[in-house]
């Protein structure tokens, strides 16, 4: 059972945490319903980073050494994505060097956002205990509930002298989250689309048609909080060193899987679009990660110039779902 405290103002928590942690607040306003334009994945999986430097004789390590920092006010969709990425990068020292330094303070959403559907994919709107160290919940009567869900979280607020709150408050929180879930618009196209994808019922022709609309801009994969593909390159430095850099890649590029022989298993845009959505909603990936790769943030819908973000695609393929699976 989480312990739950009454917090009068966010500033108080802020200033307490600031004694140990650098504060990073991705949201303009903690408590806004829309997620930030950019997911917080870049705080752990950097958009561009060095993997090592080779000086002709020795390889030098270039592990990042960030100071302890707190991501203050992260919504459930993005926290679910961080938990997903934690699995993917479990043995990645660069990711882990940053991740170990981070304290995650979640914020419950109590109103649906424009493109979001976290409730449909089990990723919100309330923050799940396993995804954050601390959770904030705005009380309609004023002040905040502060829930502690990890030892690290407990350690972080030690000495704050907060009043403990009882189960009634936690039940009221559950009710508000349930009300939020009920307020999301109809999501039957999502359920039908997911069924069509996970059961492989979408014909190639349909993917090809959607593929025409994929410009290969990389916007979806850049903003997607669970996308984790990267490329690498070796850069010559002025002093003769060679620096290996990795950078965010996108599986929607034709060259992503092109081989040195020029053979390409996914040369057609439609095949790449299918692969992207299979990664998000395929059963095999769900088995590996314990959940779907989509956390319902809706960023792809908003940023895709080709109108093949999640809602647009799901509406186009929903009819391929089996009739009994609604």
């Amino acid at each position: 059972m989480m312990s739950c405290y009454l917090l009068d103002t966010l500033e108080r928590l802020h200033s307490h945490l600031a004694r140990v942690y650098q504060i990073v607040q991705p949201l303009e306003d903690v408590g806004q319903s829309a997620p930030p334009l950019v997911s917080p994945k870049g705080y752990f999986f950097a958009e561009q980073e060095n993997l090592f430097v080779f000086d002709g004789e020795c390889f030098r390590e270039t592990l990042p050494q960030p100071p302890p920092f707190v991501l203050f006010g992260v919504q459930s969709c993005d926290l679910t994505a961080i938990a997903y990425q934690d699995q993917f990068f479990a043995r990645d020292p660069y990711y882990q060097a940053r991740r170990q330094q981070a304290l995650l303070v979640g914020i419950d959403c109590v109103t649906p956002c424009e493109h979001g559907f976290c409730a449909s994919v089990d990723a919100g709107p309330g923050v799940k205990a396993g995804c954050a160290d601390l959770i904030l919940h705005a009380r309609p009567e004023g002040g905040w509930m502060l829930m502690v869900c990890s030892d690290k979280g407990g350690e972080a607020i030690r000495g704050m002298e907060l009043d403990q709150m009882d189960d009634t408050e936690l039940r009221a929180r559950d009710r508000r989250i349930d009300d939020c879930i009920a307020a999301f618009p109809d999501d039957s196209h999502l359920h039908r689309g997911i069924a069509a994808i996970s059961q492989g019922r979408v014909p190639d022709q349909q993917w090809q048609q959607l593929g025409i609309q994929c410009l290969g801009c990389s916007g979806c994969t850049t903003l997607c909080p669970t996308c984790s593909c990267y490329g690498t390159r070796d850069l010559s430095e002025d002093q003769g060193d060679i620096r290996r850099q990795r950078f965010w890649d996108s599986c929607l590029y034709e060259s992503f899987q092109r081989e040195a022989s020029q053979h390409n298993p996914s040369e057609e845009a439609g095949e790449r679009v299918r692969r992207f959505w299979t990664h998000k909603f395929g059963d095999n990936f769900a088995k590996t990660f314990g959940r779907y790769g989509c956390v319902g943030c809706g960023r792809c819908e908003q940023t895709c110039p080709g109108v093949i973000g999640v809602h647009s695609v799901m509406r186009r393929i929903a009819d391929y779902a089996p009739d009994d699976d609604v």
């Binding site: 334009l37 950019v38 870049g42 958009e47 561009q48 025409i212 609309q213 410009l215 290969g216 801009c217 990389s218 916007g219 850049t222 490329g231 390159r233 850069l235 950078f247 890649d249 996108s250 590029y253 034709e254 060259s255 020029q262 908003q302 940023t303 895709c304 110039p305 080709g306 109108v307 647009s312």
Partner: protein, 699 residues
Amino acid sequence: MVSQTTTTICPFCGVGCGLNLHTEDDRLISVTPQLDHPVSRGQLCSKGWSSAYGVDLRGRILHPLIRTPRGFRQASWDEALTTIGEALQQVLNEDGPMAVGIISSARATNEDNYAAQKLARAVLKTNNIDHCARICHSPTVAGLKQTLGSGAMTNSAADIFETDLIVVFGADPTENHAILGGHIMRAHLAGTKLIVVDPRRTRLAKLADMHLQLKPGSNIALINALIKTILDNHWQDSEYIEARCEGLVPLAAAVANAYDGVERTTGIDLETIREMARAYSKASRAMIFYGMGITQYVSGTNNVIALSNLALVCGQIGRPGTGINPLRGQNNVQGACDMGCLPNVYPGYQAVADLAARDKFSHAWKTALPEQPGLTSLGMSKAALDGSFRALILFGEDPVITDPDQNQERLALSKLDLLVVAELTMTDTARMADVVLPAASFAEKSGTFTNCERRVQHVRQALPPPGEARGDWQWLAAIARQLGSDQLDWSDSEAVFREMAALTPSYSAMSYPHIDEHCGLQWPCSAETPDGTAVLHSNSFPIGRARLIPVHPTEIDESADAEYPLLLTTNRLHFHYGCGSMTRKSPLLEREIPPGLLFINPADARDLGILHRAPVGVRSRRGYLETCAMVSEDLPPGLVSMPYHFREAPSNQLTNNAQDPVTKMPELKACAVAVEPLPPGRVPRSMDQLNAEQGGIER
């Protein structure tokens, strides 16, 4: 660690998307779209997403460089400016102001462009000022100026969602203006009809209700047949023509025989022409977008006039969701034109030939101004070849890669006594310079860009210029000072803008704070329309009544023949921009496309024994290059296509320099070539290798 976010405008195409630049300790670490931007609405194309790579320090020119017999050496600004000043002065003394000129940059800010034309006119005393609009939309400026009185997009990007029919004519917006192309896809999916007219099967053509796959160069034949169909069936908007146009009778007479041979000339059957004519004329609101497939022909200006005729007879100009809308290529090509970086006009298209305009600028700048009309960019090249043009200042442009007939262009530049190039990286043109100046990128300076819907937007500095790099108007001012003039001594970019706005009627009510307040202002923005203008020509045209001007089909200059049996056209790719000097710094975009490619129809490829991705040699009457073949159904048989982004295999090695008589626009969209397979496994030789082997032109 100091993290900052700066809101600015994308440096690539004319759509003008909103960008956020995220910096950490003066390093650009990432780029994101602006959610609330009026045009881009939280979206970017692959180039925009990659713009951080485009300006990073790798390969940047950090100091002035001076040519020596052993290559370039680093120099101080003082030395570089002294060298430039002395050389300019010598040419001016010996041959006068017609021997010097400036090629300005459609990538630079309005402030930079205003400074460039002022340096030319008020200090060097020449109207030899031009920029790359010459090879993209000079026919638009010349054509629409004659028919409507204003050579710019008549409507706005947002109108895409307020129209019933979109006609995309000779343009490939999902590649070149991706966010607008995306808007067109979105509108089409929501029910707006879409007609694409293009020799290539573009992405939009694949999605469109109709695709008219006309033969290259047959635009006027098709448009005249459309107009004839409309008039024959009385589908025109007679009320509109009566009230707002003149010249219907001669136009009707000129198109009377437009069906003669039209199916053969255009490759489009009359039934399809009739169907398009009906759709366009009957639509309550129809919007035309067009691009280089209209302008880059010897008939470029007439092509624009023909499209304007079509829109006018149907009354499709002057309301939301209608209009004739050129898609401008560069982030600020509209602005560079507006600023008067053209040999015949001052800022705001005030004619050099008009005595009152000349007096106005002469009075404002307190100096006598040259009367003699200036040379175009290609005119300067031609004059360089005969020795009458000797000194050129050029920035933010790479004509060796992007102008037609590369070998002639190189030869012309090599003849100059002085070539000054200001650039971010060592382009092929910079390599030919006598003095290279380090320029600041869009992220390192402030100013304004004007996008293709005439929206003037604020560009904000996120980073200090690297090394000794300077903003363009600042080094232009330093050259002016070197020549003893304080004409360009402004305190900051805002002061440049203020001076310009006071002299440019369409910008007269604009200021930086006013622009910020409105997320950009669309010109005309004057006392009558202080918050700008979304739709031009609502009540009247700048010339009063619009002119319907009869134009007749002109054949392309060079058709395919026995020796050169295929027709080459040019196209652009979503992943690259211009000469590639910025986009090719992205490891992702560079990986995406091989350095040079030729699109060819499977039937032609089969006849020639060419396999997909196999090496090929391509020859025209002007040059030869090697590249790799992309076998694609998107090209019809007989037509091949190349992008111009790649210095290894530059299409301009092959293209034709035959020009539109009005604007000197070269015919980049059609020339005859021969394609041959190279031995399998052979790596195509780059242009540098071929030049070295054949003893090409070097300085």
